[in-house]
Every structure is written in structure tokens, then in C-alpha cells.
Symmetry: C2
Subunit: 390 residues, 2 copies
């Protein structure tokens, strides 16, 4: 839980942005945005739930399933009357839909004839959710406000930064656990188990939360595809592994990727790692307030281009709090066309992996933009890890 003052600032910033976007209300389905504004935290986003924000209402309204309402009362800062719930026979029903109930609440609050922003491309705001709201709110003007609240989240408070620093301590431990566990004859799932244990155990000072993506640790030729998770295959000599994992503290994430080899790194893999590391160093140096996201990508492109390499995917994105299935904020991306200017207390996953037909190398950093530059959250050797067999 954050302080009431911090929630007030978040609400105020959200309302400011609503005025800019020209809406009087918001229907928020993205669980990260719900948590950000209210503090609500539970694994209940597999059923429909929303937070309503209106310019002329002091508190948001939380709406969810009946059995989750007591959790909302316990984890949010709002008064009990701001927690509303629909009966269980709305859940996965072919007759009723939870958004019918949401529409009824809006009518009851006299907010059904307003300009209301919806998160058209947000996880958990399905096509059916939108259709039912359109039917239930014939007098409203539903307008796509995209990731409005996510854009408010882009600038972190000092408390949020401190959470991410805790998360970074956790990801260091998790990456070390992976290195300590991986070996010839060990099964991939055993490394995943060691990572996950370290992520959730956290440190002796604070516990870890679940990460919004599970460990991704493709091995061998599977490293050509970065989002493969794991199997129970046993590692063999010469296997290359890319490990993309995160630490998470109270839903705040710091991802980190490293590449490990069971044996000596072949020359062509070492070369790619060296190019990536040069690119990271150069890019980090240029990640100063005032630089644009596009310019960050240009530094990277120029640096690896000198060695004849090209990357045809964005090299990073804004991070912070999140819920599955993604730890990205879906706001700023380091790529051509993104003219967002870096500012102090923005936070990014600098993700310059390079993937080829039958292997890949991932080395990444979570980065905090400070007053005069960039610092990595985690402190973990940025090298190709060779594990030689005993």
C-alpha cells in the first residue's frame, strides 16, 4: 500500500490527463491500472473487473465478482461503499455479462450520459466487454483512450523507484541461482524451479512477488526464439541458454537477461555478445534526460551497425508495476518514430537481444533515468557466462 497522498497524486494526474483526452469518465480494465489507482491486488483478473474514475467523483469505484469484493475492501484505500460487486451467476455465463452490471452502476451513479474513455486494446477488455457496454450505455460516448493511465505511470515516484530497487536485488539472486543450478545433465525445469524459488523467497529483508512473465530460458537452437519457456530435457555439453527473468517486489518489476553456455563460448557467439555489450555501453551513455526514445534506438543501431549487425525489433520499453501476461507498460518503445523524451524517474527495460536462425544472445538491463544520466537497477556482470563442467 502506498500513502494516501500518493494515491491522491495518481488520481489527480489521471484526471488531468482525462481533461486532455476530452473524457469525463474512465472504465479501467487493465489490472495494473486498477492497482495503481486503488491498491487492489489479487489474482482475480481472469473474471471481469473494472475501476471507474469520473472527474466529478472523489473516489474511484471498484467493481468485481462477489467473492473478490472482501479482498477489495482489504487491499484498497477506498471506503466500503466504493466497492461494488456482481453476483456469481454473471461469471462465464452465456446469458449475463459482468459489463451489464457495470453499465447498471453507471446508470445508478448518473454517469451514463458522459464521454467515457475505455482501454480498447487492453488485456482483459475483450471485444464482448465493449459490445455489452455499448448496448448497456446507449447515451454514453465511449471513446478509446488507449493506455491513458499507463502514460500517467511512466514517471515513477521515489517510493516506486525504491520498490524497483528491491526488485533488482531479487533478480540478482535469481540469476545467480540459475547460474549455480545449470549444468550438463540437469533438467531445464530444475533451473526454472531454482529461479522461481529465488524470485519469490526474495531476501531476508523483504519477500518477492510473482513476476508477470515466467522465466524464459530457451536452450540450444530454441534460443533463436526468445519466449520459449522450458521443458524437462537435460542439458548437454555446448548448450547455449538465454535467460530472461525479472525480480518483482509488490508488483514492481526489474527484468534482466543473461546468456550462459555449458562449456567454452564458440567464437561467433562471443562476437555477438561483445557487439551487444558495446551497444549497451554506448546506449546507456546516451540515455540522458532530453534524449528521445528514437534517438536511443539510433545510438544502438549505429553502434552495432559498425560491426555489420542489424536488429529488426525495438530495443526496449517502459517498465514498472504490472500483472501477467506482460511486464512492459505498453507506452514508450525504443524504436524509430517514438519521439517521447526521456525524463528523470522514467524506467526502462533495455532489451537488445539478437536472434539468428539457430541461436540467439540476450543481455539486457533495467534502467533508471536519473537527473543527469542512466543507471542500471541490477548489478550483475554483463558478460557471456561460461559454465565449465567439473
Amino acid at each position: 500500500m502506498f500513502s494516501k497522498e500518493e494515491y491522491d497524486i495518481r488520481m489527480n494526474n489521471t484526471k488531468q490527463k482525462m481533461l486532455q483526452y476530452g473524457v469525463e469518465g474512465l472504465i479501467i480494465s487493465n489490472p495494473s491500472n486498477m492497482y495503481y489507482l486503488t491498491g487492489y491486488d489479487a489474482w482475480s483478473f481472469y473474471v471481469n473487473q473494472v475501476v471507474l474514475v469520473f472527474i466529478d467523483m472523489d473516489e474511484p469505484i471498484w467493481i468485481g465478482r462477489q467473492m473478490d469484493a472482501s479482498g477489495a475492501m482489504m487491499t484498497t484505500w477506498m471506503k466500503e461503499s466504493s466497492i461494488r460487486f456482481y453476483p456469481d451467476n454473471y461469471v462465464q455465463s452465456t446469458i449475463r455479462h459482468p459489463m451489464d452490471y457495470v453499465a447498471e452502476v453507471l446508470v445508478e451513479c448518473g454517469q451514463d450520459d458522459k464521454k467515457i474513455g475505455v482501454e480498447m486494446d487492453s488485456f482483459y477488455y475483450t471485444a464482448m466487454c465493449h459490445e455489452r457496454l455499448q448496448i448497456g450505455l446507449p447515451n454514453a460516448e465511449l471513446k478509446d483512450t488507449g493506455n491513458l493511465v499507463s502514460w500517467v505511470r511512466v514517471l515513477k515516484s521515489d517510493t516506486e523507484i525504491s520498490y524497483m530497487k528491491n526488485a533488482a536485488q531479487i533478480v540478482e539472486k535469481a540469476m545467480q541461482a540459475a547460474y549455480d543450478t545449470v549444468n550438463i545433465g540437469v533438467r531445464e525445469n530444475e533451473v526454472a524451479a531454482a529461479i522461481t524459488h529465488a524470485q519469490i523467497y526474495g531476501s531476508d529483508d523483504f519477500g518477492g512477488d510473482y513476476t508477470s512473465m515466467v522465466p524464459m530460458l530457451p536452450a540450444g537452437k530454441m534460443t533463436a526464439s526468445p519466449h520459449i519457456t522450458w521443458s524437462d530435457r537435460r542439458y548437454i555439453e555446448g548448450d547455449i541458454l538465454t535467460l530472461e527473468i525479472a525480480g518483482c517486489y509488490k508488483r514492481y518489476h526489474t527484468p534482466l537477461a543473461r546468456t550462459m553456455i555449458l562449456g567454452k563460448a564458440p567464437g561467433h557467439v562471443q562476437e555477438v555478445a561483445d557487439v551487444i555489450n558495446e551497444g549497451i555501453n554506448e546506449t546507456l551513455y546516451h540515455m540522458t534526460p532530453g534524449t528521445t526514445a528514437e534517438e536511443v534506438n539510433e545510438v544502438w543501431t549505429r553502434t552495432i551497425g559498425k560491426h555489420g549487425y542489424v536488429k529488426n525489433a525495438r530495443i526496449g520499453y517502459s517498465i514498472g508495476l504490472s500483472y501477467p501476461p506482460d511486464w512492459g507498460e505498453h507506452t514508450i518503445s525504443f524504436r524509430g518514430g517514438d519521439h517521447t523524451m526521456l525524463q528523470p524517474n522514467m524506467t526502462f527495460h533495455l532489451m537488445p537481444g539478437l536472434w539468428f536462425d539457430n541461436f540467439g544472445v540476450s543481455i539486457t538491463e533495467s534502467v533508471h533515468i536519473t537527473e543527469d544520466g542512466a543507471e542500471t537497477f541490477a548489478s550483475f556482470d554483463r558478460k557471456l557466462f561460461e559454465k565449465t563442467v567439473e
Copy 2:
């Protein structure tokens, strides 16, 4: 990977159902349905990806992000030309949308003037996905076919049942790990870490996969709300915990919940546990082929009603393979109005938790409907676990 014969049967059953629903094609976004038909398995569903099935095409077409296409080639049974991908500048862009690309592929295949089913209320089929398809496919008739493929999945093959039996062995180990770890002074996250390690380590014979929901282990008054995850609070004497977890083997789940108390169970908690157990025994006895889902719920309602208890939520649902955020199939629910008849090789999570204002008790079973009755997948004492402090 399943046998080609099993994929052929799945495709054929899907096409039969498409004929019943009156569609010539399907655009599938639900990752569980994608995996079921193609074998594609990666944590990449946080970007748009679909599988297309058309009555007049032998193979499905997989469409995803460029960097995930090599994973699709490695994990699916289809030929390389059935794997299509969109460039990275479609990802989380405000200019392009991956569904624009999907529409282009449909045009290219001459399938854009057909009756095409979409999963209107499926995770990851956002309102924006639907809007862009409507714009990109002006000659198609997009029709909500709901959980069409999920309904095909309701009847399990023997191989699927064997996967769920592996998952059950895993959940037994994970629940035991929870019991062994929990104690006064231990932090909640340490129990979650032990559970997760056991889930992913699996057994010495086979490894575990990640579960579609993380462990939910509210304690104390938080047990009134079943989907709370964990914090780093230390357990105190008298704490009651409800643990709802699953085992997962190659994406197939068997959930299980138990309730534990740090000390002697208070009389009112023991009474609730006894009522639930009587209800489970009676309900399991009546879960025979030919019984309807509604009748299963009636047996439960009658049994606990004799003791003055009422439950105002469904008491179970169909389970099998799944991806986050849910391990339910969103098909059959044990509740009034669901007239689906039980058949051999259907599988359910019998979930009769009872939640009150300041505590709850969860004791559940994953159940396999056999030729003449029901058997639980896991074998784990169905009692209130008291952990007395040393």
C-alpha cells in the same frame, strides 16, 4: 507434442463443430486453443497472435510476431509455409495493429469473404482486435462463436488424462511442500516459494510446467477472499490459510485446495470443514456419466443445506490445458441452469469453498469422470490440516 493422429482428430472435431455453428473459418486468439490445435507453446501471448482454421484448408495457419515465428516452427506440427509473422513495428504501435496483418493474410488466402467465427469474450481478443478485423475484412461476416474450440476440448483423450495424472502427482508434492514449510514466524512468501519450486521441479520422472494461476494462499481474515496471493507477513499462532494451487504437466492442470491452521482448529472452522467434506463425498458419489452439471450442484446444495449452509457461487468447472490467467476452460460450470451431461473423460475442478465475512475454508478436488463414476486425480488427505508448533 501429441501424435499427428491426435492433432488430426482435434482438427476434425473442430471442423465438425464449425459446421454446427455455421462458420467456414475461425480466428482463434485463446492461447489454450492455439496450443490444442497446433502445439504452439511459448510465453508470447502478450502480443497478438492467432491461429486460423478454415473448413477447406488442411492445416491451420499460425500468425504471430516475427521473433516468435521460429518458436512456432519448432513447436508446431505444421509445415513452415503455415507459419506467418508480422514485423516488429506492429507491436504496441499506435499506427499499425497486428490484426491488420491478419486481415491481409486472410485476403491473400481468398478467405476474406467467408463467415468467420471469432472468440468475442476470449482473453487476448481485445475490443481493438475486433474493431481492426471489422475494418480489414469488410466482406467477411464475423460471428461470435464463443468458446467453440474450448467445447471440443471438454472431452479428453487418454493421453490428456495421463498428462493430468502427472500433474496430480505434482500438486500432491506441492501441497506437501506447503504443509512442511508453513509455521509460526515463517513468511507467506516462503511458503509460496516452496510450492512453486515443487510445482516446477515436478518429479524425478518428469518435470513440471508453470501453472496458469500462481499459488493463492490468503491467511487470517484474508481467507474471506479466495484470490489473494501472498505478502511477506510472518504467520502468527492461530492463523488459518486456504491454499489453492495446481500441478501442471505440459500445460495440463489439476488444481487442489486445502485449508491449514497454525494450531488447533476452532470449532466453527472445523464445522465448516466437516460440512464441506460431507458435501464433497456426496457430490463425488453422484458425479456419474449422464448426470447434468446442474444436478451435481443440486446434490451439493441439498447436502450442505441440511446443516444450514448456503453457497452462492458455482461449485466447479471444466479443466484441462490452459495458459494464464485461468485454469478453467470456460465451458461447463456446476450451477443452476447448466444442463450439460457428464460424460466419461470429462475433467473438473470440484471447487466447493465456503467464504464468510472474516474467514473461509477451501477443500477441493480435481475429478476425472470415468465409465461408471468419478475419481479424484490427486490423493491427498481431505481434512483440515492442523500444524501444531514445536
